[in-house]
Amino acid sequence: MIGLDNVTIAYGTGTRAVIAVHDFTLSVPEGEAVGLVGESGSGKSTVLRAVAGLIPHAKGEIALAGVRVDRRRTTAQRKTTQMVFQDPYGSLHPNQTVDQILALPVAIHRLDRGEARIVQALTEVGLGREHRYRYPHQLSGGQRQRVAIARALILEPRILLLDEPTSALDVSVQAEILNLLARLRRERGLTLLMVSHDLAVIAHLCERIGVMSAGRLVEITTATAMAKSQVTHDYTRELLRSNAGFDRS
């Protein structure tokens, strides 16, 4: 469903270019959830942004649902891949009601039954009718993230990209959002690609885990192997040690 083949991503051009991701190869079959972990600056978010089409990639190939894509995409290609951002305070327009935020994708893709879709999207993420005409500043962080998820899912995408979707939230709210994502994934058969620095969060949602360091994918392992500390690469071991809380679980 998601295929990355030798993808290299650079910021800047010419001699001042900084290569953020080197020869990244990963394949995510339909319905699977893959997590990318790594410290800040390891390039995990950069990979996600390139898959989303927010930044161009310098070399290699990115394929979504079997179609090779670039940064410029058709409206139909946009529809298949949606993303939930890290900061629910920054990812919702401050002057628009939840209703307006959800109406935008409906208008862009000229979807039918707009009214019904908005109501359904809100129900699916566990928000009630009373939230529909509120402004983001009248919602809590968890509720905002639910709106962001509803906005992504209203287009019925097949691929959902998650950029640290819970790191800006309280621990108790984190669990709610993760459970919501797990349920939606099950119901809709979504393919997930998720980025986080929190191994516990990744392990909760993903079967396979890619470990990134200094712009390279150093190891691909499974969540169960990770939990049993059956990892091969030194860097992964180090990461496990620094996530001591995960070790005990």
Binding site: L54, N95, H131, Y133, A148
Partner: protein
């Protein structure tokens, strides 16, 4: 009253309209506490009402009715503000002059805001070469001295209200373009813009639905604060004989006509001068209040 209040302040509005009204009402509640701003709003509202209901307040004929036997009469019950050098009633002329002032201000605003946004938004959104070209263009217009360009323009096109409006608008739009550009650039990288891009929104749609609403409040504040300058420039052009033409009761032209008799018949120049002063002050106070209200919300 209380029912309307609860409806407006409902934390869970039931419709798009109610949510929008509630937002405006909350902003109004904040604005209302600012006494100076309310004074400004009062003055501006008074100006608008005066312009709309001018025929009810004063006699239209009196604005141009010359009565040379009655010239330069002091303030009296018959002529509230006295009469000018042609014996015209200054009160009627000031009242009807508000129409000219308001027309100029409204027409300048209607030209300046769309032009400023049309130049500033793409410059800020696209950046790169688009930004460079549009901003250098803005710089060129910014480099002209405002009144001198307006003078040259009014002189070239011939005096009159329309040309005064064009002349003022031509020199007034660059700050709006810069403001819109700066506001756009601070939002360009915001995640909600990226989210809209990801959803397939075109640049035009993003600018129109996501960025314009955020720019508009600062543009309106800036416009209100600029109103005083626009009124003064218009009056200045009128004073120099390049704005509204006689016998139209333009305030600047009225000041000009009274300047020969300033010492002996002070009211001829002073009353329209006061009108310009009060209206400019009103717009400034209102603009300051709007700016403060905007600050507290963010």
């Amino acid at each position: 009253m209380t029912a309307a209040r609860t409806w407006l302040l409902d934390p869970a509005p039931a419709s798009r309209m109610q949510a929008r009204c509630g937002r405006w009402f909350r902003a109004w509640l904040g604005f209302r506490r600012n006494k100076l701003a309310m004074t400004g709003l009062g003055i501006v509202l008074l100006l608008v009402l005066m312009a709309v209901f001018a025929p009810l307040i004063a006699d239209r004929q009196a604005t141009t009715l010359q009565d040379l036997g009655n010239r330069l009469q002091p303030v009296s019950w018959q002529h509230l503000f006295g009469t000018d050098e042609l014996g015209r009633d200054i009160f009627a002329r000031v009242v009807f002059g508000s129409r000219i002032t308001l027309t100029i201000v409204a027409m300048v605003a209607l030209i300046v805001v769309p032009v400023g946004l049309a130049i500033g938004l793409p410059a800020g959104y696209f950046g790169g070469i688009v930004d460079k070209v549009l901003m250098r263009l803005t710089d060129i217009f910014l480099a002209f001295p405002r009144l001198v360009l307006a003078l040259a323009f009014a002189a070239a096109l011939g005096p009159g209200i329309e040309n005064a409006v064009i002349a003022i608008a031509l020199t007034a739009w660059p700050p709006y373009a810069r403001l819109a550009r700066a506001e756009t650039m601070t939002r360009r990288r915001a995640e909600f813009i990226q989210a809209a891009e990801l959803q397939g929104a075109s640049a035009l749609r993003i600018i129109a639905t996501q960025i314009v609403p955020l720019c508009l409040s600062s543009v309106i504040i800036r416009l209100t604060l600029d109103m005083a300058g626009i009124i003064l420039t218009a009056a200045g052009l009128g004073f120099l004989g390049l704005g509204a033409q006689p016998p139209a009761p333009e305030w600047g032209a009225m000041v000009s006509s009274g300047r020969q008799v300033l010492l002996d018949q002070w009211w001829v120049a002073t009353i329209p001068g006061l009108a310009i002063f009060i209206v400019s002050l009103g717009f400034n106070l209102l603009g300051d209040g709007l700016r403060d209200a905007g600050d507290s919300r963010s």
